[in-house]
Symmetry: D2
Subunit: 430 residues, 4 copies
């Protein structure tokens, strides 16, 4: 390692908290990025199948967003505006109204929360509690909704829950779709528990779910199940919150992950790819009758990240003004499914997971999945695992990745898998 | 109002949540900003004595930060990097190490949390609970630490607490410095309660405080009191968390609000002006022995806002590499004190509040304070109130505001106060 | 109604809280009781198939206990002794040791809690949390453990939970044996949730269960299920608490409800029929290694009800010194089963519930069950319903009820059922 | 120790939980008691200045109660009646109505809770939360309200709180009368906190207090303070709960501890001496408009201890039908005050505590107080300490103790104190 790079890394060792994580398995110091490729300070380039955990659905430094942002900054456009009116916020809202809400017949209002997904989830849970006068929120096994205390109560992951250092309250956990693997339907179970006067589950303020559990192992709920849950929420006076932070913004092949399911969530939480450029931005959509917060009742200094409004508007106008992009996504989803089937075929007992451009393979163990990703990284591919045991190799490539680059990325991945598996087989045979 | 502006406002009415707030009393649609001035879409310009609630301590669009950010974007610098190593993060850490931590003898590690102050506070409270194995956090009357559930438990404001829709737990409230107005010392009280085996206050994981309560009405704690609290924390095995989100980054005249108090907090939370440019960025500083989170145990997609790292580095290098800026602040604090004394003299029973460039006048009623600010806004000054009854006219001008502009702003403010008060006197005399 | 009786009832109307309940459906003013019969102030006598909700397993005013108690009082024996040593406590402990613990190979210690079942449950949950350093207690659908806040969190009944006026915490609800009616095994489900690192169920301090859910509708767990749960508790570092308050003291045909299941609970809670005479007494049994409370760490003024010790000792010595009583119970259980089968045969779709002398019939609706019990009461039988919809006619006759009287009681019950059903059929036919 | 006694003690060692407490410092095995005297199995007799912690205000085995109870049992009176109507309950209610409530102009209803003080407190807090729809209950430093989770949250004692093994919620602690020792008035403080919109104390459901804190060190609130708190409760929409469990039933010289203070509590909790005979019995009094529980919404198997109703009725009729007893109490209170003044004079810096027949001396250290009580016990006096450091020698003699016996008891106590102090002085002088 050249001297400069050593020094650069030294500052992380000396001064950055032990909480840092991705940089441990992918230690390069990244300096530039464009489209679906990252470049490190040693000149090495990487294909990006992680996309900022689905925060870079349109790739790195999209030229149109980039140009608009540079123009905005050059012209002394507002960088920080609290929740004052700005021209950039108006333009974003108009684009979102015209191209997203209006065509989908959604009458929701937009609430800009603090610019993290967790903050949007906290706000959503608060609204549901305020609207219903109830405390209990139903959340599901393997759901991930953030790590601030309110949202963390709804998050299943024990490692993250442990970080709270205290028992969390206000949430009842229920099994997600498919949890009983073909036996009892989990929607039936939820219905039984909610209907049973002595079931011991308090009347819910909300039911919160992801249609595909990104962190939880790419578990994809069926349309029928989501519809059942939506109906249960309605029947029991609870709000339906769909957390579309990771699965939304086109990741599942449509703008919202749920838009072809025939359900209308009371609240939708959004973040990650919302700004289009990877800038911090989060918001929630809420049916007008549930828009009950008073002025600044839920607030936050950065609830109006105007730079993000600029790029988010471009993202909406560029990709969602017509259906061209969505069609492209369908083709890519198929390509990904094919390639992952090849991977799945290499590992006995493995399972295909997810849907759209949020697919992966459960290879049965976190160790194997981790080794495959590590080997791929060595060969120039950034890719990560997910699931309660990190057992799923997860593909979150930018939606805009050219087909050729997608194929190149899978070539690296499949070759890495082959190498790892044959090494393992060799060792086992000794 | 010209047609275009009506349309612009219409989208806010139609689609933005009722939670929006500042735009209600300051309805202009802002389009540009530079230094300490904002411009609206009707060409009207405003002097900014609010500075994004202390998020724009270096003014709007500082030319050096702006240039560095445009360069970064133009060169396809990383926009979003999760918590991967990036050259921009390294450069920020090095600057922060060299110019801030090192000279102040602080061995703290830096943890990048989600880019909101609330997220940093949540992380801080989690660390304290994990370190101590205790749940209880001591927080103070009129403290403000954010509105996500963990932080909200520590926030005093009843309106915000009510937004939770549920009882919050894990925090014991204690009276802040001066709460008994000259009678019992509140540090004595806290000591008595913590030492009393039947006092009913559980052993604390942490004591969290702001040295000046920005939202709580510019209550400034004395050095002696902060030292007493620091000692109590130590004696009772609790971590001392100083929330420097609003009072830090030079706002009190030094980089940290507490740096001349002779205390070493176990954890410091930072946000608001940290990026220097108004971009979302938050972090906490934690003593190495308390840096106990495992990798990603507290995580968040936007914990590495690289654009913010770029501007934050420039801010540190430009303003804090030597003591020139700090000296300038001392003069401005005096100027502000003088001008506010004039305001205080207009209102019988009013009180001077705060310190440094975070001062204000408690004019005795929220109604009067609100009318003064409204009149000032009419005349081109953005200024806000604070306190439990909004009774404090609060000055949070950018620290970089030229003296002439500061004076111009105060001219508007004092004239507004005069107008409002004479109108009130006239009405009362009728 | 004669004048006196009106007056007597008047005081209840005027001065007793609306919380009174049994007296609403059984409004007689009772004055005397002996064995399995109650007498009211109008001379009417009633066969008692309720037995103080299983608090009078040995009937009313058992002559031996009565004599011993009168002797004790006459001799100025201690009536109240806090938790001081008394000869009566020693005698009870010796009898309990010799006839109950010793023969069953149980090394548990006896902790006298406040004299209510809820108090014993609260103490048990506290011990489990103190032992494990964990908060979460697993409890089951339709479980009933009392209505003080700690115990109420573990109680399933929504009506009782609602009485708290606040959200209760520290408990995770799981489906009891048979909840999925033949599909997924609920022990499998619990195992999956506890083993899933992202299942969102915190590591448990305890699993608490009744082997037969008395209030919850006479659901009887299978031996296999209880063994599975016991193993899960052990594997996951949790204490197994068996709440034997209603099902214990012979009610299921053996002294403990679980003693033929091959499990050793870490804690057993006891109350109701413990004193033998209906006097308030509760205690818990705890394995020596979990006997972690310091002196009076859990306390209570009436934790040593010495009158109850007197009668409890007699009960143990009279009924449990040999196996004669237990054999008698087996015969009576069979008789009850036969009679209830007759009842079940009258109602289509009805289900037999419970085991031992804790059996009933789920007649499908609370309305029908209530009408049957009301009619029986009219004809001189005290009998009650249970279950989440009050849909189960529940037989809790004293274990000592002579066969002839049992038969007489069932005659009333079956005849009442016949009348009610034929009336309903007649109405339906009109 | 003769063989029998060793065996008796052996069973406690072998089988009773480590939670036992009083028997540790007073290890005699008690067998008989009459009036204010206890007899142990070795024939030794003790004067009782503890009275079952104020549960035996009328002494042991009062002859009239004893006779009535034996009559009741002999006649097969109901021993256990759930909450059915019984003649004994009616007779108690009538006596309580006629001699207690009616003459004091109290329109409260009587709710029989489970027969422990903690249970009554739990019910009271539940009612307050249900009535107000709020969660927060204000409780005071050094207050003791029981150790089940709901009541324990309101109890100040850290040792007992620690027994919960988890953080308790729903209660805000405030300083009791006199906590600031002459400086800030604690009622002023409470008012400031409740009135401060950012004080961080949620709107209270109830304020709960003891007028004399029995366990907390015999702190006696002034009439003015209690009136202030009552007014604050009313002004802030909270219910006033007076916990009269230890201080009531004549202990302070009147039936209720508060009856000469000019306040009308919304709820009064009672237990301890309520039955008159030391039998488990508890209840609460609630204003009719707050009697909001539905049937059995708060329930409990032993909520109708009919034996206790028998003795409780006699107690009311015998002692409270006219003012003779109350006058006697005034004289005895004076006698006790005089004797304790002698004790106080022996110890420099000691403080007189309490009022009525609930007085003591704070001798400055738990060690000294403990040694005095131990020495007194050796010489035939049962007496205990109280307070957060066990620093108060507390006199809770039966109210019926003859003057001569009171004097004899004090003779033992003062002589014990003299011995202990002179030994200490001698050691210090060495």
């Amino acid at each position: 390692m050249p001297k400069d790079m050593t020094e650069t890394r030294d500052i992380f060792e000396r001064r950055e908290s032990a909480a840092r994580s991705y940089c441990r398995s992918m230690p390069a110091v990244f300096t530039k990025a464009s489209g679906s490729e990252l470049t490190a300070d040693d000149g090495q380039s990487y294909i990006d199948f992680l996309a900022g955990c689905s925060s870079l659905n349109y790739g790195h430094n999209d030229p149109d967003m980039k140009a608009a942002l540079i123009d905005h900054i050059s012209a002394d456009g507002i960088a920080h505006g609290l929740d004052l009116h700005t021209d950039t916020k108006a333009a974003f809202l108009e684009a979102f109204d015209r191209h997203i809400l209006e065509p989908r017949g959604m009458d929701h209002r937009v609430m800009f929360t603090g610019p993290t997904g967790a903050n949007a989830v906290e706000a959503a849970m608060k609204i549901a509690r305020k609207v219903t006068g109830r405390t209990n929120v139903i959340a599901f096994t393997n759901g991930f909704h953030g790590v601030t205390n309110g949202a963390l109560a709804a998050t299943g992951n024990g490692y993250h829950r442990g970080g709270a250092g205290m028992a969390l309250s206000g949430v009842t956990r229920m099994p997600y779709d498919g949890y009983f693997a073909g036996a009892t339907d989990t929607a039936d179970f939820l219905e039984a528990m909610l209907s049973d006067k002595s079931g011991g589950v308090d009347a819910p303020a909300a039911i919160i779910l992801e249609t595909v559990q990104g962190e939880g192992g790419l578990n994809a709920a069926s349309t029928e199940w989501v519809q059942r849950i939506a109906k249960l929420a309605k029947d029991h006076g609870a709000l339906l919150i769909i957390d579309d932070i990771q699965a939304g913004c086109g990741r599942c092949g449509t703008f919202f992950s749920f838009e072809e399911m025939g359900v209308t969530p009371d609240i939708v939480t959004m973040a990650k790819s919302l700004s289009g450029f990877g800038l911090p931005m989060a918001m929630l959509l809420v049916r007008p009758e549930h828009d009950v917060f008073g002025p600044a009742e839920h607030n936050g200094t950065f609830r109006g990240n105007t730079h993000a409004f600029v790029t988010a508007r471009v993202a909406i106008e560029k990709f969602w003004a017509d259906d061209a992009f969505q069609k492209e996504l369908a083709d890519k989803a198929e390509l990904i499914h094919g390639k992952l089937t090849e991977l799945a075929n290499m590992v006995e007992g493995s399972k295909m997971k997810g849907r759209g451009l949020m697919q992966g393979v459960d290879v049965g163990s976190g160790e194997l999945a981790g080794e495959i990703c590590a080997k791929a990284y060595e060969n120039g591919l950034v890719v990560e695992t997910s699931g309660s045991e990190d057992q799923v190799v997860k593909i979150l490539a930018p939606l805009t990745t050219p087909v050729a680059l997608l194929e190149k990325g899978f070539e690296i991945l499949l070759s890495a898998a082959e190498t790892v598996i044959s090494e393992k087989t060799a060792i086992a045979a000794e």
